[in-house]
Amino acid sequence: MMLAALFAFSAGLLISLSRQINGRLSLSTSPLVASFWNHVVGLALLTAIGLVIGGIFPPGAADSPWWAYFGGPLGVIFVASGSWLIVRIGATNTALLVIGGQMVTGIVLDLLAGQKPVLWASALGVLMIISGVWISQKRS
């Protein structure tokens, strides 16, 4: 359990670390070029790990629906937008606003999929997030 918690916490650290590093690369290139390198280097590492451990193509993988492959192109836009954002509003603002957006749209997706969220918690959470976003973009 402690080890799992360490993995989860470190995953968060790594997300912000890669955004910071890609942001620096984008200053010398462009957000899209930084996103390209992020994907190439990540692909190279994952391929190397996969060749050693195996299991890149487990049975059943080919049955994935066609639309699931669009996560890759979406990721290119997401990583590029992160580099664009972090040099403009900083690491903390970027991290929290992206998370807030993910939470609110996640609830919308749940509703569209017919899954009922726990009303009090999600309504209060969405309200707090929207207020936070509203405050963040106000002129100081």
């Binding site: 359990m1 080890l3 799992a4 989860a8 916490f9 968060g12 650290l13 790594l14 912000s16 890669s18 910071q20 590093i21 690369l25 462009s30 070029v33 930084a34 390198w37 992020n38 994907h39 280097v41 990540g42 692909l43 391929t47 996969g50 299991g55 193509f57 993988a61 080919a62 994935s64 699931a68 669009f70 890759g72 990721g75 990583v79 937008s81 954002l85 900083g90 690491a91 903390t92 970027t94 929290l96 606003l97 807030g100 957006g101 939470m103 609830i107 749940d110 899954q115 009922k116 969220p117 726990v118 918690a121 209060l124 959470g125 997030i129 936070g132 405050i135 973009q137 106000k138 100081s140």
Partner: protein
Amino acid sequence: MEIPAAPRRRALPFLFAFASGGILTLMAHTNGTLGHYGGPFFASWMAHGAGTVAAILLLAVLFRRGEGQALKGRAPLWAYLGGFSGALTVIFTAKAVNSPLALSGTLALGLAGQVVFSLAADKWGLFGLAKRRLSLKDAASLGLIGLGSVLIILFGRAGL
């Protein structure tokens, strides 16, 4: 003609950041679907592969139009290695999700990790980006977003 006191140049990126969280929700869905069929490792590998192809196509189109100007000189070599960190994230997350923490615990601790790192990154200007002091307004906004998110992660979403 009236001259505006201060341009609202800060507003747009904040709203844009919020919107980009929506892309992440879609990605969680598509990559989760790939993971359902082929496991988390296949999902990440395929997302990186499809992303590489998409990035090459996008750059081929945009470079013809002369995309962007660099703001700084040559990047240090380590700046090309952000993808290592991104690829490891997938493996770490998969390990945490398949533990008693489940998805909600993993997300909540991941949020904490992001906050800790990004506060340090802004304070000290880590990895060649600018130092930033959080304003009181930033802190209020971030506190609300953070607490609201934790509330949703731990108690709100049906599927979690």
